[in-house]
Subunit: 427 residues, 4 copies
């Protein structure tokens, strides 16, 4: 298969359609419906949608009004209303199963959500130039999950045509960007019989043609939402009557970034979305920080989290305010298994378009694929996180990110080839 | 007139209708239309609306989308579409003129805008208990401007029935809370022939029955909107590639409040509305502070403003960001003229319901009535800012603020009596 | 008396000698000894020194090593060792009494301590040009207490030559700059029979020849010493093992200055002396802030103090540190009595060299003379704080501050004249 | 040799004597004199002292008064005055040379300075219990350099008794803790003929009996001294006239620790010694930060340094102050050569008392031994940094750090054995 083939055209069209409709975590209504629509045309053995693919353990779910706004937007954009209805409450995502023999059960996990980033709009940005720029203004597929979902479909097609002895399950996971979709999908039961798991990411600063057989070094991550509450007052008349939630917030921000670095490895912290107050002449009563901490290991993440919680609470006290903190998503660190990565590397060596293979590389970011990987590893299986390079003009999570569509073809070939090989070799 | 009279009932109904429809600065579409509707039933000599009552010198005007949202909301709530159309671009406000003889021209200035505060909703809050709580959720008449506008109408009625020799102009000014409506109304030309100006405020921590003949001690004020711009990056993968606008904002907030106090008198500073960033896992590219500084004199305000500008610029530099700062409204300090306040005090002494009279008091807040007062004073006229007490359960700018409606009656009587007396005495 | 007279020469010599030996709070060994030496040549009725003039209620006393260093320095500079020995423990200060009849007891209070400021050393600074610059490098009479002490001596001489019917007590008070000497002297018992108290300050931005009969508007003040304790660690190897006292200190500093301003009047805050840590490669275990808060009233000072204490404690918690806070000196607000100020104004009107008299003026600073004034006022007496102008090149508490010595003469004449008049008029 | 032998006793006595006299960077007067005294009893071929062992390129040298204080203290404690005189200007350190044949020149580098830490004083701390606690109160050998210097002497003795064919140079380097002694010793010329260099550190969280043949992962480091200058004023009277250097300092501290972490590896920052202001009632005119940044590579250190410089400058501007920044010491990152580490590992395997050998380990701290190592490596030689474990009760740079003296014996055996083996094998 190549991008000149009808299949490749079809996959590119799918990717571009998804790219035009980026939806953030737990709001992937259009995306899920579009995938269901696509998959129902295939000859699949099982297709589970929405509530069927998630356990109860969801975090960071938006309020009803927000969910309804996105559901309506999806239907307005052409999503099938019957599918969107099945996703009520923001329970998005799909799992597709293909039985091809009595061999092992192999999982492929792709994620499907977008980001709250405004996409670039100048002619040097290909989606803008070629007419598939985001139609959900302020949101964007700036991390390639449009390609991931597309590759998931492509792998189902390609494995069906290969000589695979076993069962393939493709997990189309929602809410990766908020690291809140991995856990409920990992504990949904659908992963319990999976013996081998391949997860996927495009790009990661690798060029088109380069494959990383086993990505390691996932940072453990924890997201939090902190809400500060004080008291408002007239800023001119009685500043002393206020208890200033914005000052508490600012004190917290300054000190969150200043949590001591750690001997044992990399840590991260970000106050990614903040705000407070209502008008320039009112002492702010409320403020918030939606933030996150990360660590090279789960222990390092917990070190950062302990400090962050103390910073948030003390900053509130310092300004005589209260703070309410909720966890909004969490993922452990993770490692690829060398045996399984070895299979991927071997297959990649035989794949057209692959010009360079790395046995392993360090991610330096987080991923709740680690929940799925750990689940499989804990029950004795093997997992590998495969990186498929793509020439991306802007960095991940920036307005000029884009995927070289050649990558879709390569990823489908490598992953479907690896699935076939796993059936044979059972590493 | 008393609150048991039909007029009082009518005024109370008007006040409660305005209370149900609070609109923030430059968005007083319903309010303006409602006032026009009311005033057109009177026998007035002139009625100027919207663009006719303002010079070009407006600041802090929201964007078109925001204006349209409020205009639609006003029409949906029953505002006359023909009036709302005349207010396009957020040019709100009314000036009503009544000629009663060849005597002096007397101005009465009231303000009409609401605040971005969510009104209390429990039964101890009278507007909630009696069904006239704000219908614009998140906005509230928390400073009594609903009563002010109503009193303006009442004064027109009362003066028409009194023995006044002269011309009365009532200025229904928009955008006081952002101190941006005073200047364009002061320089509209309509104030050029005004020889005496009475401005009004209810409450100010004075109880019902107490009148302050001449309020002094207005703080000069300057509002600013600062927009910080940096660069986004993936918070886990490449924190070093970001230029963090939220850190710049937090550094600025901490240091704005820490500007040194001044020997010469009171100063104020507030970072009243702030925000930044888009998601917890993205280093924030943008952030903003809508803030203000004040001073007991215009010089002290400028001292604070100089420091605030340096803080904002240096905080941006410190985090390798840019900052764009716009002024959003400004008012000088101001003083009431004793001769005119003396007339008010005399009239108040003869007014039913008035139990206590203070010759002067200090406001401790800001008011862009000072632009109108200075304009009149600079052309040789006299101005006084009259405080009419009201029992208010919560403080100004808090969710439980309310006006004792008895105050409306008292204010109409005191102001209309003073207008009549000015015509006679020409102090 | 004029500056050309032998007495004036003698007073100028005394002032310059004191100027050369500035000593900070509780370390006025040379100063006290020099005053005792001077006063013992007079015919006085009582002379109390050191421990005899202070109650137990002292704060902010330095440690023994520090006291001994200054005591040795004093003796090395020529102070009488027998007097310095009597001041062991830093109990400095003198009270001199002169009985001149059965009339009322009048107190005159002057302060005697210097400041930790490095004096200017260029030829435009008179003490440098004329050879009486500070010999205690790093310390300076930058607030005129050298002149105050000298004037105290001069008043004793002048009253002895006047026709005064009563008893004069001159209080040479230590430790005014740390507001810790006023209270123990006020409660020493020596003030219990004083019916009229005159306190003195030169300068205060008034020129030579101007007298303020009754200074008001003393800011209440409270000094604190906060010591932060965390844990050290190797900054390169194990930053996470430290609990960083310097970060706690910095967080406190930023937020101390940001305590909300107050509607009721002026407030102040200063982190005047701070420090922490031992070496650039060690996470700091210890840090400190010696600071102060002030208020236009005692209540406003207490408002600031409450906030400051919360800021200090929360900043410590935020960085997992402890903080120990001690009060180091405190003074209430204060007012001059108009009747007594009236006497001073009358006398000043008859005094050569006085070209301008103000009945009252606002200080805008703090003074623990208020302890002595309140003590006298509370027992039914009268007190006034007299300002005697002096052309001072630099501001108070700056390296170029100096006293126009003409002022000494004027102050002696006004104060001794007022003492005489009080004996006669008993206001 | 074992600790029961006379030699071991002698070394222990030397170590304890050095431990009692810890001296910080460039003030190692007693230490240098004591080493010279000791070494002059040996039969050495060359002994270079002070100015002879350093190039001009020294940083962070204290002022003359400080140097003289320590020089006097050293002589008072029994140091030979003739040696101390040779160290004028703080040019400390020793290089001892032993010719044993025509084989290669091997260098051994040890460091000799102490730290500004107050040593623990309770009976559980062995130096306190056994009477060799620091006699320079406030300073301490808290990083084992007392043992290092002792081991240097021991290696000279041991190699003299071994069958070494070559030349041994032992470098007793000053000022390691401020990373300012390594560069001037590396560029002194004495290292130019060294073909193999062994550097040494005890402890590093490894227990007694464990040897790390080649330590890697030295953090590059840069020390800076930042001096902020503003303007003082009376904190009560005229806070607005001050330009507050302490606020600038605090803003800088908060933001230094908040410099973004970096994808490429570990970074560090510390504001290790800070201070400012003179008295609680004076707005602070001056303040300082003695700090450092580090990076896992020299590039990462420079990234931190760029940010730190911008933070310092912008924080000064933000408070209208100036800042003067000087570099106070710097060291690059560094790596041990595997071939040379292999020799050390082999020898360690044959050494009594060694129970565990690690080929390599990561330091996580900084060391200006890297200057010497790079100098040798750049001229084609090999270098290894050898870790010799010791059971240390408290961590490095803490008040309870101590060296298990058994370690001295082991280190002497391993290093002298490696020197001998290098002569033979020339790896």
């Amino acid at each position: 298969m190549s991008l000149d083939s009808p299949d490749a055209d079809s996959l590119r069209d799918l990717r571009r359609d998804l790219h035009r409709h980026p939806e953030p975590a737990w709001r992937e209504f259009y995306t899920t419906a579009r995938l269901v629509d696509e998959l129902e045309t295939r000859s699949l053995d099982e297709l589970h949608v929405g509530p069927e693919v998630l356990s109860e353990d969801r975090q960071g779910v938006p309020d009803t009004a927000e969910l309804e706004t996105w559901a309506e937007r999806a239907v307005d954009a052409g999503a099938r209303a019957d599918v969107v209805d099945r996703l009520a409450g923001g329970e998005t995502g799909v799992i597709a199963t293909l039985h091809c023999g009595d061999g092992p059960t192999v999982g492929v996990r792709v994620d499907i959500d977008g980001l709250p980033i405004t996409e670039a709009d100048d002619s040097s940005h290909r989606p803008a130039a070629e007419g598939f720029r985001s139609e959900n203004e302020g949101y964007m597929h700036a991390c390639g999950h449009d390609a991931h979902a597309t590759i998931g479909v492509g792998v189902l097609d390609a494995v069906a045509e290969r000589d695979f002895d076993g069962t393939l399950k493709v997990f189309f996971q929602p809410a990766e960007e908020t690291v809140s979709g991995g856990k409920p999908m990992a504990t949904s039961g659908h992963l319990d019989d999976v013996e081998y798991l391949l997860a996927l990411h495009v790009g990661l600063d690798h060029p088109t043609g380069e494959v990383v057989a086993g990505v390691d070094g996932f940072l453990a991550v924890s997201h939090f939402d902190a809400a500060f509450a004080g008291a408002s007052s007239h800023a001119g008349g009685h500043p002393e009557r206020g208890r200033n939630a914005v000052q508490a917030m600012a004190t917290a921000i300054q000190n969150l970034y200043a949590i001591p670095r750690h001997h044992d490895g990399a840590t991260r912290v970000n106050a990614g979305r903040v705000g407070g107050g209502t008008a320039s002449n009112i002492v702010p009563e409320e403020a918030f920080i939606d933030g996150e901490v990360r660590g090279e290991t789960t222990e390092l993440m917990e070190y950062m989290d302990d400090h962050a919680m103390r910073v948030l609470r003390s900053a509130a006290e310092l300004h005589d305010c209260e703070v309410d903190i909720e966890y909004a998503g969490r993922a452990p660190s993770g490692e690829s298994d060398g045996e399984l990565a070895g299979v991927v590397a071997d297959v990649a060596g035989d794949t057209a378009g692959v010009t360079s293979i790395l046995d392993r590389d360090t991610l330096g970011g987080s991923e709740d694929a680690t929940y799925l990987m750990r689940h499989v590893q804990d029950q004795g299986g093997l997992a590998a996180y495969v990186g498929v390079g793509t020439d991306h003009p802007g960095g991940h999570h920036t307005p000029t990110f884009d995927v070289d569509e050649e990558t879709i073809d390569i990823a489908v070939d490598v992953l479907s080839g690896a699935v076939e090989r796993i059936g044979t070799e059972q590493p």
